[in-house]
């Protein structure tokens, strides 16, 4: 059975725990209601009874115990869950890029997904996971129980970057599958046709889902630091390669990359999707901090 330590180093777990603490401190009273639940009422999990004190709501009195013991007790429940978060993890070929700094993009994505799942579950939110490349590969429905985290992690551990990306149809099919509205966290490099991608985002949004898009970039994909002649082979298609002198197109590549990122950012903003661009050489905690600050807005 996969454990958290299979994915996260001990220091990461420590960091996550401290992050959780940080989150709890910062988000005191924020979790409830912050995740604006679309459903009325509470999901109810009984924890204990305690004696009534003045000021408690009368409707929370346990009348059965009062009948038996003639004393007023209040029924206490676990904290309410009003957030269903689905982490959608891109496992396409392009996520298999290992940059000059040795970081595998998918590895980073996996750790980020685990951290988020942990963070959310420790906040008693229900977390699900969907991995995909050209099509959906695994679906783990949203659960709150801590044991569920192990299932999520196990799935993440066994997933490796596949081949082609086809994000748009995957998101559209997701809109069909996610019956209940909730938070969808997209972790991907979004290397797909931006127009189709944004169209499918639109569909998700129409279904009432709140979306957070976390775009991962390897530092090489931002700076294009290659010097010598290079043969660039497509991670998603073995027949696709380019032989060129990188120095001669660096400037233009950087412009193209910025345009692409800008295009996505604009599209996401139009659909009221929170967007974060995350270079993989940044620490996960920094990434989570960015995430939380995004959520606090």
């Amino acid at each position: 059975m996969a454990t958290l330590s299979d994915i996260l180093h001990a220091e990461d777990i420590t960091s996550l725990q401290s992050l959780q603490l940080f989150a709890r401190t910062v988000v005191e009273g924020f979790t409830t209601g912050q995740h604006a639940s679309p459903h009325k009422g509470f999901s109810v999990e009984f924890r204990q009874h305690r004696p009534y004190v003045q000021g408690d709501e009368i409707r929370r009195l346990d009348w059965k115990i009062f009948g038996r013991t003639d004393r007023f007790y209040i029924r206490e429940f676990d904290e309410e869950t009003n957030l269903r978060a689905t982490v959608v993890l891109d496992a396409s070929g392009s996520m298999g890029y290992r940059g000059q700094k040795g970081i595998l993009k998918f590895d980073y994505a996996r750790k980020l997904a685990a951290s988020l799942a942990y963070l959310l579950m420790s906040q008693q939110d229900a977390v699900g996971l969907i991995t995909f490349d050209a099509k959906v590969r695994d679906i783990i429905p949203c659960r709150t129980k801590i044991t569920h985290l192990h299932l999520l992690l196990e799935t993440m551990v066994k997933t490796e970057p596949g081949k082609d990306t086809s994000l748009a149809p995957v998101l559209e099919s997701l809109a069909q599958r996610l019956k209940r509205r909730g938070l969808v966290i997209l972790i991907s490099d979004f290397f797909d046709d931006p127009a189709a991608l944004l169209r499918s985002i639109g569909v998700l949004r129409k279904k009432g889902h709140e979306i957070i898009a976390l775009q991962l970039w390897d530092r090489d994909e931002i700076d294009f630091p290659f010097g010598n002649w290079a043969r660039f082979e497509n991670l998603e298609n073995d027949d696709d390669f380019l032989l060129l002198d990188p120095a001669t197109i660096r400037q233009r590549y950087i412009e193209a990359q910025q345009n692409f990122a800008e295009q996505l950012k604009d599209g996401f903003r139009k659909h009221q999707v929170d967007y974060l661009s995350l270079p993989t050489d940044e620490s996960h905690s920094a990434a989570l901090r960015s995430y939380l600050s995004l959520r606090m807005r």
């Binding site: 070929g93 392009s94 996520m95 298999g96 890029y97 993009k105 490099d189 290397f191 390897d218 994909e221 290659f226 010598n228 002649w229 290079a230 043969r231 660039f232 082979e233 497509n234 991670l235 998603e236 298609n237 696709d240 380019l242 032989l243 060129l244 002198d245 120095a247 001669t248 197109i249 660096r250 400037q251 233009r252 590549y253 412009e255 193209a256 990359q257 692409f260």
Partner: protein, 718 residues
């Protein structure tokens, strides 16, 4: 193409370095398994073709840089001109030996020497620099161009020796004539490679019109010759800007009577920019100073002085004017010869005598030729006239006469015609005036005789200006005929005031005749023809007031006197000649074989022998190369003829054409220009050995480096 540092050419192999780097770079390809291919495709799609070209250009530029650098260091020399066979060449030097070349040379080139000496010195170096087997010829280009040597010589030491005799006293350089002479000299050039160098001070007066665009057909022809000669304009210059000169001295009479006052009008010119005060001008007669006048001259100004003098002895006399104070002394004097005679006999043949005063055809002439006698004045006339009617003329009337004037003569009878024919052939002068009595048929048939007769021109007919049309007038232009020179100055009279209503339309043919005056209808008024040893002048109008008001004009008297004395002095020496011409005096046949002694102004003498050319017997001198009074004496007799030689006034203006203008002329005719010997030698070296190319190559190298940086930046920017 050859290289001065050929070994450094090996450096060109360095072009392999960028090529190898380029190829190695391509071979040392790293493989990158890459996700963001769509971004790369987008970049490449826009620039794929352009990138290939840019890469290729960059590679070529990088390869070219070491090659050009190596070429530059190897100092290549372009030797295409060697193929013309410049190993040995034929050099024609057109040396300007005009008088202005005697000006002091520039202080920087030859202190204390003259421009001509500098030219000689430079030419000597030019000749020394010629490869062995080369030939040289010099065309002396001042005045009438002539060859220094009979034939081009390969003995190059001969030229400087011969050049030392060149006195540089010729008249103005006529560029076209000079190039014509050079073209002719070029025909004898033994080598295929030919060079023509014109060595001159490029006086503005000689070259201005050409600089302003006037054609120079001889040079155009020269530059089009095959194989094409290398033409160089070589300027030798003077620093001298200040110069005074006697531009002219006009004498009032060519022949004078004893004690008859002769007027001398002297024009003094300041060619410089500074004013001159009280310049002394001396009048000298027969070598003795008579009087001195003083003049002041404004910058580039002119002053006119008048002197009079009377000689009391019959014979040839010299009259000189000399000014003081000017450093360039050769043009400070002007000399002329005055013939003093007892009397000059003129026969007037009146073709239509009148009963009234001044109604006869020759009446005005009689007064004009003997004004003092007619006025019964105490002054003596030189000319003594004898008027006679045509029908009364006898053979003996022609004896002792020096000039015959025919006025409105219908025609001559056979014997009279023969007598006059003989008279002119033997040196007499004939002046023929037109008139209503003239039988045009006879004039054309017998008198003109298709150019064989006495009369200078055929007569087309009688022309007239209608009463409502303006009359014909004398065309005012610069007169060149010796009898008309005096009238170039407006003070001699207003020739344009004479009005002509009728005139003969002359149709002069060939070069037998010389026009003296023209009418403004583009027809001659007076023309002259040499006939035997004498001269005939035909006037297209009457000598009385019937066809024109010419006889009523104040200048009629001096005009008739000058025409008459001019005709009477045929066979005598002219009043003066330009330096650069020769003395040529006609002699009696009996004098063939006699010897003459010519004494020049410095006292040097040389012996001349009379010679025969056709029927003419004459004595001729070599070209005169100094100004002053010369004496020609027949050996064994006392008979001495005086001759005066002067420098052409045009040569006194030392102003040179600006360098830019000379270069313009040179460029127009595909010629080179040099004004210093080193510049000429560099030019010569370039032609002979080729031109070094390292400078343009260095520029090319810098350009390539610049292009490389630009390309790199451009490519990096994408």
């Amino acid at each position: 193409m050859s290289f001065l540092n050929g070994i450094l050419l090996l450096g060109a192999a360095a072009f392999l370095i960028p090529l190898i780097i380029h190829l190695l770079n391509k071979r040392k390809v790293v493989t990158v398994r890459w996700g963001a291919m769509h971004l790369l495709h987008e970049v490449i799609r826009q620039r794929k073709r352009k990138m290939k070209i840019e890469q290729l250009l960059l590679l070529i530029t990088r390869i070219a840089i070491p090659i050009v650098l190596a070429l530059c260091l190897a100092r290549p020399v372009l030797t295409a001109l060697r193929s013309l066979g410049l190993g040995s060449s034929s050099l024609i030097v057109m040396l300007d030996d005009s008088f202005s070349m005697r000006a002091p040379a520039a202080q920087t080139t030859l202190p204390g020497g003259t421009v001509m000496q500098q030219a000689r010195q430079d030419m000597q170096t030019m000749l020394t620099d010629l490869p062995s087997g080369s030939s040289a010829q010099v065309v002396l280009s001042g005045g009438t161009p002539r060859k220094l040597l009979d034939q081009a010589t390969t003995d190059l030491t001969l030229v400087p020796a011969k050049l030392s005799d060149v006195s540089s006293m010729s008249g103005p350089l006529s560029a076209n004539d000079a190039f014509q002479a050079a073209t002719s000299a070029l025909k004898d050039a033994p080598n295929a490679a030919r060079e023509v160098v014109i060595v001159s001070d490029f006086q503005e007066a000689d070259w201005r019109a050409i600089a302003d665009g006037a054609a120079l057909p001889a040079l155009e022809g020269l530059s089009k010759q095959e194989p094409k000669p290398q033409i160089t304009f070589y300027r030798v210059g003077s620093d001298l800007a200040e110069n005074l000169s006697i531009a002219s001295a006009d004498i009032s009479a060519l022949v004078a009577a004893e004690s008859q006052p002769i007027g001398l009008r002297v024009r003094i010119k300041n060619h410089g920019k500074r004013p001159w005060q009280d310049v002394a001008v001396h009048l000298e007669a027969d070598g003795a100073r008579l009087r001195t006048a003083r003049v002041s001259l404004a910058p580039e100004g002119e002053a006119v002085l008048s002197f009079t003098h009377a000689f009391d002895k019959v014979g040839d006399h010299s009259l000189s004017v000399r000014l003081e104070g000017d450093s360039f002394a050769d043009d400070n004097a002007f000399h002329s010869i005055v013939q003093v005679r007892n009397q000059l006999n003129v026969l007037l043949i009146d073709g239509s005598p009148g009963s009234e005063p001044l109604s006869g055809a020759a009446d005005f002439l009689e007064i004009a030729l003997t004004p003092h006698t007619v006025a019964a004045a105490t002054l003596k006339d030189l000319i003594r006239t004898k008027k006679i009617e045509l029908r009364k003329i006898r053979n003996e009337d022609l004896r002792q006469q020096e000039v015959i004037i025919m006025a409105d003569v219908e025609k001559l009878q056979g014997h009279t015609q023969n007598d006059i024919d003989k008279f002119v052939k033997e040196g007499g002068g004939l002046l023929v005036f037109a008139g209503p009595e003239c039988d045009l048929d006879w004039y054309n048939r017998e008198f003109y005789r298709k150019g064989q007769g006495l009369y200078p021109s055929a007569i087309k007919g009688q022309a007239r200006a209608d009463s409502d049309a303006p009359p014909a007038r004398i065309l005012m232009q610069r007169f060149t005929h010796p009898a008309a020179l005096y009238f170039n100055d407006a003070r001699a009279g207003r020739l344009q005031d004479a009005e002509f209503r009728h005139w003969f339309e002359f149709t002069p043919q060939g070069d037998q005749t010389q026009r003296i005056f023209n009418l403004d209808r583009n027809v001659p008024l007076m023309i002259e023809k040499k006939y035997g040893r004498g001269r005939v002048i035909a006037a297209a109008t009457t000598a009385n007031a019937e066809w024109s008001n010419l006889p009523l004009q104040p200048f009629f008297v001096p005009l008739m006197q000058r025409l008459t004395t001019y005709l009477a002095t045929e066979g005598s020496a002219p009043a003066w000649q330009f330096v650069g011409s020769t003395i040529r005096l006609p002699l009696e046949r009996a004098e063939l074989g006699s010897e003459f002694t010519l004494r020049d102004p410095t006292g040097q003498t040389q012996t001349l022998k009379s010679a025969k050319e056709g029927d003419a017997v004459f004595v001729q001198s070599p070209v005169i190369t100094q100004s002053g009074i010369f004496q020609l004496q027949k050996v064994g007799t006392e008979k001495t003829t005086l001759l005066a030689f002067n420098i052409d006034g045009a040569e006194s203006d030392l102003k040179a054409l600006p360098t830019a203008d000379i270069q313009k002329i040179a460029k127009r005719h595909d010629a080179a220009y040099a004004d210093t010997l080193p510049a000429y030698q560099a030019l010569d070296r370039t032609r002979r050995h080729g031109s070094e190319l390292w400078q343009p190559l260095l520029i090319a190298l810098l350009a390539l480096l610049f292009v490389e940086v630009l390309l790199q930046q451009h490519i990096a920017k994408g």
